[in-house]
């Protein structure tokens, strides 16, 4: 019987240092193509250390590689910062729900990310750009705590240089050599130009950020059923058996992490649910 608890070894092909505490690892899946949908996640196992849920940050059209962007903050993820090409990780997945790439067709798409929340949204951005004709305006709003904590900086520059999408980047705290905007993503959202009646908003970041993003989007006239958010909960299994990620009737690993806002608005308002 296929054992859903046992990871499959995969070899690291490339390591890119994003920030002081974040790396992007590209795993080689050419021997066994890895299919996923933007927004989904894997359980990533480091030998001898343990396993953590990590969203997939690569291109869904490239089944020969699997890309994870990992912030090293705990006993499992911190040693992952030191991996080099040729090292091996264990993978279980993909798990969970996906961003609404179909539902968003024909609409303006507003992507609002905070911190590491840009990683699970990057496959969505890749999809939008790869299928550019299917969508109207595309706006990416990205907030980082500080300039040196920004992910995918080269890519952000490249995207910003394109004429077919708008990129707004902001930081909570500026530094001496930062001349860009300082402030929260909701301010950038309020200033963004898009057709609120016919827009799709996708957001991922700290819960408090998403709460204000949704509040602002709704104020601007975006219908609640056109807003999607990605939830984070403690997860040990990702297959609905360990119980940790329960949120009301849901297992976030199965019914989430990506939710349509009108389905969760009432739950999101409850503290400590």
């Amino acid at each position: 019987m296929n054992d859903p608890w046992v990871p499959t070894p995969m070899t690291v092909r490339e390591v890119v240092r994003e920030t002081a505490d974040t790396v992007t690892l590209t795993l080689d899946t050419s021997a066994s193509p890895f299919a996923f949908a933007p927004g989904q996640f894997n359980m990533v196992y480091l030998f001898g250390q343990g396993e953590v849920p990590i969203s997939i940050s690569g291109h869904a059209d490239r089944p020969d590689e699997l890309v994870h962007t990992i912030r090293g903050v705990g006993p499992v993820t911190r040693p992952m910062l030191d991996l080099v090409p040729g090292d091996v990780l264990g993978i279980r997945g993909p798990f969970g729900t996906a961003w609404p790439v179909e539902e968003a067709r024909g609409t303006d798409v507003i992507v609002v990310a905070g911190g590491i929340g840009l990683a699970p949204l990057r496959p969505m951005i890749y999809h939008l750009l790869a299928n550019r004709r299917d969508y109207a305006r595309i706006v990416l709003i990205y907030g980082a705590r500080q300039p040196d904590q920004m992910l995918f900086v080269d890519e952000l520059h490249h995207w910003r240089g394109r004429f077919d999408l708008t990129v707004e980047v902001t930081v909570d705290q500026g530094t001496e050599d930062w001349f860009g905007p300082v402030g929260v993503v909701t301010r950038s959202l309020a200033r963004a130009r898009f057709d609120a009646d016919d827009a799709t908003v996708v957001t991922c970041g700290p819960e408090v950020m998403m709460r204000f993003v949704v509040h602002e989007a709704v104020r601007m006239g975006v219908p609640q059923d056109r807003i999607w958010a990605s939830m984070e909960r403690n997860m040990k299994c990702a297959i609905g058996l360990c119980g940790h990620c329960q949120w009301g009737p849901d297992f976030v690993c199965k019914q989430g992490p990506v939710y349509r806002w009108d389905h969760i608005a009432h739950r999101f308002a409850e503290k400590e649910l």
């Binding site: 054992d3 343990g50 903050v73 040729g86 819960e207 403690n234 609905g240 119980g243 940790h244 649910l273």
Partner: protein, 366 residues
């Protein structure tokens, strides 16, 4: 199928064990240890409780000696959960290779026979079947469950903590078993009325020294009626899911939190609670083991998130999660309540918190 009831003499209980052992099964059943009746591996009938009855109340469990019966007690702190969904289980072992690691899966356990499973235990197994054999199958539960032989026991008495009739789960064992026993002790002797519940049960019964039941044939029904007559506790199940979901902001959660010490006993004794965590253990020879252990939603770390801490940081929120899951959202997830009315969480709560009383108060609130 026609199932004439038969009699197994008390002195032939050993043959039941021997027949199960001859099939290569480990026999798991009740035995007295540390002042409680627990389920463990039994060698033969001598390991079973003899003349032991239990007294239970909120926060209270005591055994005392009375008579000669083997099964005239209610339920102890453990359920058969620990044998199908073990408290500690190795998911895999990994050893380092030149650049990576190799994974070794655990061996399949020997087939088990459960002896003395009551109606609430069988109902709990049916609930865990829905949890572990749903769209994602847990291979560890599945392999233990698939090869199971179940010798059920009809309750003839109930504890004050029992409330199975209101959960629709007892006291009568009516399905989900291979053989069932009803214990009868009178001037004619000590014996068991045997009911057959499956083809496997029929095949095993054919190997036992059974004789026809004449006057005892209605003993199972009489035992169930006797047990049910002793049960006063009732879960207010009518519309309970909706009432509890509507009571999310009730002040009763703070009230129960002022009594609850967050010890997790209720989740550990519950025969349906299924939550686990994983521990990663690396030994000195460099072998790594990933071990699954029972966990509890009462632990603050259960909902821990980096940067945010526990989602449910207050005891009230954790009690709300447990009770609301058990009695309300379980329906959404698995199409059934998560409670079978065994009363373990009531008896084994050190603070004597009574799930029925709490549900009643919350339901009134809604």
């Amino acid at each position: 199928m026609h199932n004439p009831r038969t009699i197994l003499s008390h002195s032939d209980l050993g043959t039941l064990f021997a027949t199960l052992h001859a099939e290569g099964r480990h026999t798991i059943g009740p035995t007295v240890r540390d002042g409680a009746i627990v389920y463990d591996r039994l060698i033969g009938p001598d390991d079973l409780p003899t003349g032991v009855v239990d007294e239970q109340a909120p926060g209270r469990y005591r055994l005392r000696h009375e008579g000669t019966r083997r099964f005239s007690w209610s339920v102890g702190p453990q359920s058969f959960k620990r044998w199908l969904h073990p408290p500690e289980l190795r998911l895999f072992r990994a050893t380092r290779t030149e650049r990576g690691f190799a994974v070794e899966k655990p061996e399949a356990p020997p087939p088990l026979a459960l002896i003395g499973a009551r109606a609430c235990e069988l109902a709990a197994m049916a609930i865990q079947d829905r949890v572990f054999l749903g769209d994602v199958v847990d291979p560890h539960y599945a392999s233990r469950r698939r090869d199971l032989f179940i010798v059920a026991v009809q309750c003839d008495r109930a504890a004050s903590t029992c409330f199975c009739p209101s959960m629709g789960s007892g006291p009568r064992v009516s399905r989900g078993y291979d053989l069932s026993l009803t214990e009868v002790v009178d001037e004619a002797g000590h014996r068991f009325v045997v009911e057959i519940g499956s083809e496997a049960g029929r095949a095993l019964a054919a190997k036992l020294p059974l004789h026809a039941a004449t006057t005892d044939a209605d003993a199972p029904e009489r035992a169930s009626a006797e047990a049910e007559a002793q049960i006063a506790r009732r879960m207010p199940t009518d519309g309970l899911r909706e009432k509890l979901l509507g009571a999310v902001a009730s002040s009763n959660w703070d009230d129960v939190a002022s009594r609850c010490i967050g010890c997790a006993n209720c989740t550990l004794v519950c025969p349906t609670c299924f939550c686990t965590t994983v521990d990663d253990v690396t030994t000195l020879d460099g072998t790594h083991e990933r071990v699954r252990r029972w966990d509890s939603c009462f632990h603050p770390d259960f909902s821990y998130l980096h940067g945010a801490g526990p989602v449910r940081s207050s005891v009230g929120a954790r009690y709300r999660q447990w009770l609301t899951h058990k009695l309300a959202t379980w329906h959404d997830q698995f199409g059934t309540s998560g409670c079978v009315g065994c009363g373990r969480c009531v008896a084994w709560c050190p603070a004597g918190i009574d799930i029925v009383a709490e549900a009643e108060r919350l339901a009134e609130d809604a």
